[in-house]
Amino acid sequence: MSYEATFRVWRGDADGGELTDFQVEVNDGEVVLDVVHRIQATQAPDLAVRWNCKAGKCGSCSAEINGRPRLMCMTRMSTLPAGETVTITPMRTFPVLRDLVTNVGFNYQKAREIPAFIPPQGVKPGEYRMQQEDVNRSQEFRKCIECFLCQDTCHVVRDHEENKPAFAGPRFLMRIAELDMHPLDAAADSGLDRKKTAQEEHGLGYCNITKCCTEVCPEGIKITDNALIPLKERAVDRKYDPLVWLGNKIGLRRG
């Protein structure tokens, strides 16, 4: 079974562009990316779009479909309103390079600013012992396919370029939470307080838990509930706990 659909795709570059209409065939069982590929193959061979696996595993084909941040490969045509125009635009939070391709360098820059896993001293390779229940939480966050849809939708940076330098975004705050909950991460032993740096260096305070990030996550990771809120609670504990404050003051424990 196939039908003809209208696709309205943003085309242009850093200097500007416009929505362009395509009449294109859609077949039973197809996803939006299939239709974009058909436009490429038959009408606009130079239509720029990122994609790799077409199976929801690599997180490359992020875009905004009818205004909503989604993976094009995981959006079945049958889930969109029948007979209505499908509008595809590039992710709004990142600068456009060409057509549906944006410069996502912001994310790679933020990734570098999060201190890496610190292996425990004296535990040799092969000697790591962790219980499944203790790795479950961090494993949930490691399901992240880095599609950057959470970064795209987050209102802290979506229309606020000025917040970008100070804010790592949900994906990378979640990365801090992941490391903080890793059973063998030795940050504390090396004098690094991940919760504190989340607050002071990576902009955790900007997040006001509207859960937009969780809603768009194609992996269904509970970013807000399981990563950001616990990180906030613990950061707050440390910041305002009078005992911690006193301990810091008299040098009983490192900040």
Binding site: R76, Y108, P115, L179
Partner: protein, 662 residues
């Protein structure tokens, strides 16, 4: 003179999947300035799609496991065509490579006593695959990616520059490996001097000068219509190696994974992980019959259950039961499914049923196979906890690749190395599931190490890039813009995929492969005239036009070698030569670039080479009765060597247990 962006490094790694990143980490840790080039964004490589796990005989779940058992399984899986030395190094070093990942932050699923859990997989004697649910490849890539970032953080602390010693050039594509031109024009003696390519974003050209180049570009699946591979799998490294003067071996061996999705059409080919079967899933035809019991080949008969009851008991008690035939090596299962469908016992969409819904509780399925559950729900609207999946064979992996030295991963071109899927030899005629991720780590590290050593030795005598080659490479890359009204590259690509699927697929016939060679030759001429619209900035039509050169070269290698090998073995099945022939095991087919391609003729020359004989102490890991199935009479070890006719594996394992190297 062509304008290019120029850089200089000690080691250039082409490809940022598991093998490439592991190689780059090793080269950088040996103090070499290292460039990583990838066609996609950093962290998107095809490795993310690996689901099942990393095979390594850590013995965490069954302490009978050791490198010798892993070696044996690997050789059996590859039907003894594997380069024994690669299989040996791989089996010995895999555990270290996995444990090292934990020190870089990887979080594998755990056993009850807190060690890395290991799961069963086709062809592996014991539970051996370290895994994270069914997203192990993602964990591998992310861990290596984050290790690269941690090295960059180290450099930032020391030099104030994240990219002082390791830099990722993302969305850069290499179109030529450059060589020196300083020894009198004798192309064969030239050594590597760097790489040439274009930036996807701007379309501008770049050159990276370097004495050592590691190819880690993965496979060739995009030459086939039904494939589990991503768009990147256009055989770039295979073609770059050929064009630089290296050989490809074993190109006739292409693995069709038995279980790809068959419906809806747009996702046809996407992988359904083997873990579904490892965790209890069974294959049924439209009559409801578990047909795999009818397809156990003689060489494996002693190792697989004959009844459903025994097969089912195996999941609980592996010591006293044989494994179910659903867990036969991939080539066997793919052929069986192919036969069932051809015999009219297929599903409505032309596959067979893979059912886990009647085998495990829904909750357990969601826990063990989260991404399969997600994939079927989202893409096919099928709930795998409630109904069976429909699956069929899909082009998944190429065993063939660059002929390399097993220890150093170097090709015959000085300064050119290869690791991972782009390298040949390790898997013989068929790869076992789980042996790919371990291959990436073991030989990625070796390639990085030896490339670093080679670059070190080249200090003081650095190769000089030849401007003529840069100009020629630029001209070649710009040709599609010159071909006004040239053919649409997308159409050419579809024709290529259809031809390979129809004529050089799972079951091969002489006449069809000859036909394929004719078509490929014609397609090559048409592809040289492929034209593109628009400009050089992020232009997918242009990129595809350039990728076609590579796909056509490797497709010809596959077809030519498949026509030559008159036997059936692993990932190469000839309808006209259905038996495995011991004489052919001693032969490797090596492809190289023809000196001067004649129009209408092929671009590839094929040569027979001897397969190096297996070292005696490794042969002694097998019983004489088993070896007889694979070796010719004069290859059999002397009777005096005292090989027992049969070697009960459990006994063999006990004997070697104490001597196991980890």
């Amino acid at each position: 003179m062509t304008e290019v962006e120029r850089h200089g490094y000690d080691v250039v790694v082409v490809g940022a999947g598991g093998a490439g990143l592991r190689a780059a980490i090793e080269a950088r840790e040996h103090g070499k300035r290292t460039a990583i080039i990838c066609k996609s964004l950093f962290g998107k490589a095809h490795t993310v799609m690996a689901e099942g796990g990393i095979a390594a005989s850590m013995g965490n779940v069954n302490d009978q496991d050791n490198w010798q058992v892993h070696f044996r399984d690997t050789m059996r899986g590859g039907k003894f065509l594997n380069h024994w030395r690669m299989a040996e190094l791989h089996a010995k070093e895999a555990p270290e490579r996995v444990w090292e990942l934990e020190t870089w932050g990887a979080l594998f699923d755990r056993t009850k006593d807190g060690r890395i859990s290991q799961r069963n997989f086709g062809g592996h004697e014991y539970p051996r695959l370290a895994h994270v649910g069914d997203r192990t490849g993602l964990e591998l890539i992310r861990t290596l990616q984050q290790k690269v970032v941690s090295l960059q953080q180290e450099d930032f602390r020391e030099h104030g520059d994240y990219e002082a010693r390791i830099k990722v050039f993302q969305e850069y594509t290499v179109t030529r490996v450059l060589k020196t031109a300083d020894n009198g024009g004798s192309a064969a003696d030239d050594r590597v001097s760097g790489v040439f390519g274009y930036q996807r974003e701007s379309g501008r050209f770049f050159v990276i000068e370097a004495p050592a180049v590691v190819l880690a570009t993965g496979g060739i699946g995009k030459s086939f219509k039904v494939t589990s591979n991503s768009w990147e799998y256009t055989g770039d490294g295979h073609a770059l190696a050929l064009l630089a003067g290296a050989n490809l071996i074993n190109m006739e061996f292409v693995q069709f994974h038995p279980t790809g999705m068959v419906w809806p059409p747009s996702v046809k080919g996407i992988l359904v992980t083997e873990s579904v079967r490892g965790d209890g899933g069974v294959l049924r035809n439209s009559d409801g019959k578990r047909f795999m019991f009818d397809y156990i080949p003689d060489v494996f008969r002693e190792k697989y259950a004959e009844t459903e009851e025994e097969g089912d008991r195996w999941y609980q008690d592996q010591a006293n039961n044989r494994r179910p035939p659903e867990l036969l090596p991939r080539d066997e299962v793919a052929r069986a499914i192919n036969s069932e469908v051809k015999a009219g016992r297929g599903t409505p969409h032309g596959g067979v049923f893979l059912d886990v819904s009647t085998r495990l509780p829904a909750e357990e399925i969601r826990r063990r196979l989260p991404s399969m559950h997600h994939q079927f729900k989202e893409l096919a609207d099928v709930d795998i906890t409630a109904e069976p999946m429909e699956v069929g064979p899909t082009c998944h992996y190429v065993m063939g690749g660059v002929e390399v030295d097993p220890d150093t991963a170097s090709s015959c071109v000085p300064g050119l190395f290869a690791a991972g899927e782009v390298a040949g030899g390790m898997h013989g005629s068929n790869r076992l599931g789980g042996n790919s991720l371990s291959d990436l780590l073991v030989f990625g590290r070796r390639a990085g190490l030896h490339a670093a050593e080679y670059a070190e030795a080249a200090d003081g005598n650095r190769p000089v890039v030849d401007q003529e080659q840069i100009d020629a490479a630029a001209e070649e890359a710009l040709a599609p813009f010159a071909a006004e009204g040239g053919e649409n590259p997308y159409g050419l690509h579809q024709e290529l995929q259809q031809s390979m699927n129809d004529l050089v697929g799972i079951i091969r016939r002489e006449g069809e492969m000859e036909e394929a060679l004719h078509r490929l030759s014609a397609l090559r001429e048409r592809a040289e005239q492929a034209g593109v619209e628009g400009h050089r900035q992020f232009n997918p039509g242009w990129h595809l036009a350039l990728d076609l050169r590579n796909m056509l070269l490797v497709s010809e290698c596959v077809a030519r070698a498949a026509l030559e090998r008159q036997e059936s073995r692993g990932g190469h099945t000839r309808e006209d030569h259905p038996a495995m022939a011991a004489e052919w095991r001693r032969v490797l087919l090596a492809c190289s670039l023809a000196d001067k391609p004649v129009p209408g003729e092929g671009a590839i020359t094929l040569q027979r080479k001897p397969n190096p004989p297996i070292r005696e102490d490794l042969l002694a890991l097998f019983g004489a009765d088993e070896l007889k199935k694979y070796l010719t009479e004069d290859e059999m070890p002397d009777a005096e060597a005292g090989l027992p006719p049969q070697r009960a594996d459990a006994d063999a394992d006990k004997k070697t247990e104490n001597g196991a190297e980890h």
